[in-house]
Amino acid sequence: MKQQMVSGRTSRTMMLVVVAILSLVFSACAAQSSAPAADEKFVFGLVLVGPINDGGWSQAHYDSAKYIESKTPGSQMVYVDKVNPADRPNVKVEQVVDELIAKGAKLIITTSDDFKDGTREAAKAHPDVTFVHASGDDVITGKAPANLGNLMGRMEYGKMIAGCAAALQSATGNISFIGPLVNDETRRLADSAYLGAKYCWNQRGGDPAALKFNVTWIGFWFNIPGVTLDPTKVVNDFFTAGSDVVISGIDTPEAVVEAGKAQAAGKAVFAVPYDFKEACAKGEAACLGVPYFNWVPSYTKLINDVKGGTWKQEFTMFGPDWADINAVETSGIGFAKGKALTAENATKLDAFIAELAGGLNLWTGPINFQDGTAFLKDGEVATDKQVWYMPQLLEGMEGQSVSK
């Protein structure tokens, strides 16, 4: 009995001590959590799926926002990066948005397809804040509340240029595409890359039958060990299987890194990374160039619209500024040529870009789906919506049109 009494008293004492420590800490920090000062600043919040230095999709957003912050006095960015189930397992988009709004954000930009449901819920919960979901489609589907818009770049063009660069430089015509997970967007972009490759391969006079275009989906936008395929391994498998150019559709730069290593080991292989202007730096010797997003023009317009009260809900698509696709202030989609692209091919690529600028539309029939059914009849031009909701890969491409 005595033993029990002693231990019972001890636990109670312990509990008291712990509670005391906790309450001390709470009172200490209660002072700090005052509301943000309401000055003249316009605060906008960014929810990023990857880290801000991923050398890809998330960094493109972050760098654009930083650029705006430096150019536009009075604007301030707040952000949370790595919002994904692997890095922040118990964090929901809504929670992150709450935190950003607590920091004073009046405009929230969420930047992953996976944030669709969360962005919608957060927008419903904060009707006085403007939300823009980059890569979402709630406006088209009609699910979006009035304060939620969508924004996306016409990366189709970037991917076509990427495909063209790959076809121009490939010795064998054996091109591979490393994709994230399978959905409308990723199919659309893989298809675009294929169309660009096919066009330039034929222009170059290559044997149409020799062009191989293999797509492998890893399962997510970047490597999650144990969940996705390992992109490093996938890229090396491509090279082993005879591909000499890999086009990346994922957020991280494994393709160009591995191609760079293979180059250093004496293999004539190349890669086209994705998303981020400086991505070639990870493997310059093997980099043909990178199609990238430049969010500066669209973000600038968004911020000005929200600030000026002229923002309207819409599904915004922006594209390249054909006058100069690499102009920071105006072109939303760019293509930065890499060092590995030969001067001759660079000239040819510029010609292709000029053709696109001149109105060349590769989404013109006849185009069949992978399963042989007709997508576009001879001479038929695809609508934006047809391209946006891309149901399959195209005839001539290898790989899965739908996930297993």
Partner: protein, 484 residues
């Protein structure tokens, strides 16, 4: 090396395990440390070997005060202890087991040392033998060699003769004499008077945590020692054995094969009658344990069946109670109290309207257990744990299977236990036990089963056997004639 202790105290909760111990052990001698269970012998030795830290008091080595923080430190200073259960790594071989604890082992050198000490001490050890293939006695020899190689000048042995064969006991005693002849010191902890008489140069008697007889030089009469241990003592009484009935067996084994990872026993065809005490004799590891586990329903036979009171055994059953030697591992649940044990066994232990607390208190009184109903059993001394385990045998148990029933018990406690078991026998229960102590087998058995070479003898009535004849059978001499 001269070891002395000044005013040493150690308590566990309210129990004062050692009180004001002051003593000195001269080098080059074997010092016996004698006492009944719970007298504080093991605690004192653990203090000396760095396992426990004293609450107060000092230990001096060659006149210098030392702090023996850990067993490792104690070994470095030169004090090594061979525990009741040798601790070693079963998958290692002898060499690895010895080398892994040394500071800067050189395999070739260690191998040389093992061979040197084994030869000197007469231990049949080989550096490449796997530990798991060794008997308890051999593992103890490895432990002694290990401590000597590590440079121990003082060797402590805690109840070293339990669980080893008579031949190994002789080898051990000879080895210890050799060791002290080199100027080292041996502290020999036991509760067996014969061993003190046979081996020791001096004896120190502990009672209830205190020294009652300091450094008595041998020879001393057993009566003197017993008086010191208990204050009073009773002599053993020879109990007449019962004849073997034939019909209506308690256990019936028909063409039964038993095996475990390393051992096969059988085929067995045996009838074990009701109302008998049956001793299992044999070298340690001859299948006695396997046999008991099967009779208790803990393990199931490969072939054939075992019937208990005419019913095939399918699972463990409190009416066939098995009391394993490894108390804290298999016998009782150390972290639980006697009250909780009573609750676990409530269906066979508790009378109607009786609370577990009442029952536990009653068992404590009946079996003279030094504990409270709510004390975790791991806080009890070994002897009291043994008493608790015996106390927990349900009244309804008609089969009682005991491994080393009096291991770790002093003579008086052992007799009390046997008296209770005899009462159970007289009420019709069948009691099976095995003991390394042949005289115990001879003294208490009504009949004996001899285990040899994977086979079991038929049931041999006690009065047909002499201790010499039994010893011969255990060694296999004449076993064929009695094999079942």
């Amino acid at each position: 090396m001269h070891v002395s202790i000044q005013q040493l105290n150690k308590s566990f909760g309210p129990v004062r395990a050692n009180q004001d111990i002051t003593i000195a052990f001269a080098a080059g001698q074997i010092h016996g440390v004698l006492g009944e269970n719970g007298a504080g012998k093991s605690t004192l030795m653990k203090l000396l070997s760095g396992v426990y830290k004293p609450d107060s008091g000092q230990i001096f080595i060659n006149g210098t005060a030392v702090t023996l923080g850990t067993p490792r430190l104690a070994v470095q200073i030169g004090i090594g202890m061979v525990g009741q259960d040798p601790l070693d790594v079963p998958v290692f071989n002898v060499l690895e087991n010895i080398a892994c604890g040394l500071q800067m082992p050189n395999d070739a050198e260690v191998r040389q040392q093992i061979i040197h000490w084994s030869t000197t001490l007469g231990f049949p050890l080989h550096p490449d033998q796997r530990m798991r293939d060794l008997t308890v006695g051999q593992r103890q020899q490895v432990e002694i060699v290990r401590l000597l190689i590590a440079g121990s000048d003082v060797l402590i042995l805690d109840e070293p003769t339990t669980g080893i064969t008579a031949a190994q006991v002789d080898a051990l005693f000879a080895a210890l004499r050799t060791i002290v002849a080199t100027g080292k010191t041996v502290l020999f902890v036991t509760h067996k008077l014969d061993e003190i008489v046979a081996l020791c140069d001096t004896v120190t008697v502990l009672r209830a945590g205190q020294i009652v007889g300091t450094q008595l030089a041998m020879p001393i009469s057993k009566e003197t020692m017993l008086t010191a241990m208990f204050g009073e003592f009773a002599t053993h009484a020879q109990v007449p054995a019962k004849p073997i009935p034939t019909a209506d067996p308690r256990w019936q084994l028909s063409d039964t094969m038993l095996h475990d990872a390393t051992f096969v026993l059988g085929p067995l065809n045996l009838s074990l009658p009701k109302g008998m005490i049956i001793g299992l004799a044999g070298l340690e590891g001859s299948g006695q344990r396997l046999f008991m586990q099967h009779l208790a329903g803990i393990a199931r036979p490969d072939r054939g069946q075992i019937h208990f009171d005419g019913v095939p055994i399918t699972r463990a059953n409190p009416t066939a109670a098995w009391l394993p030697a490894d108390r804290l591992h298999e016998g009782i649940i150390g972290a639980m109290s006697l009250r909780e044990h009573v609750l676990l066994l409530r269906d066979s232990l508790l009378a109607p309207q009786q609370t577990a607390h009442e029952k536990a208190a009653q068992l404590i009184a009946d079996y003279a257990i030094k504990a409270t109903p709510d004390m975790p059993l791991q806080q009890l001394s070994g002897g009291n744990q043994q008493r608790a385990m015996l106390a927990l045998i349900p009244e309804s148990a008609q089969g009682i299977l005991l491994e080393h029933p009096t291991r770790g018990l002093d003579a008086v406690s052992a007799m009390a236990i046997w008296q209770r078991l005899q009462v159970r026998r007289d009420n019709g229960a069948t009691v099976l036990f095995f003991s390394a102590d042949l005289s115990e087998v001879m003294q208490y058995s009504d009949a004996v089963l001899v285990f040899f070479g994977g086979h079991v003898s038929r049931l041999l009535a006690h009065d047909t056997l002499s201790e010499e004849a039994l010893a011969a059978l255990i060694g296999g001499v004449g076993f064929a004639e009695v094999s079942a």
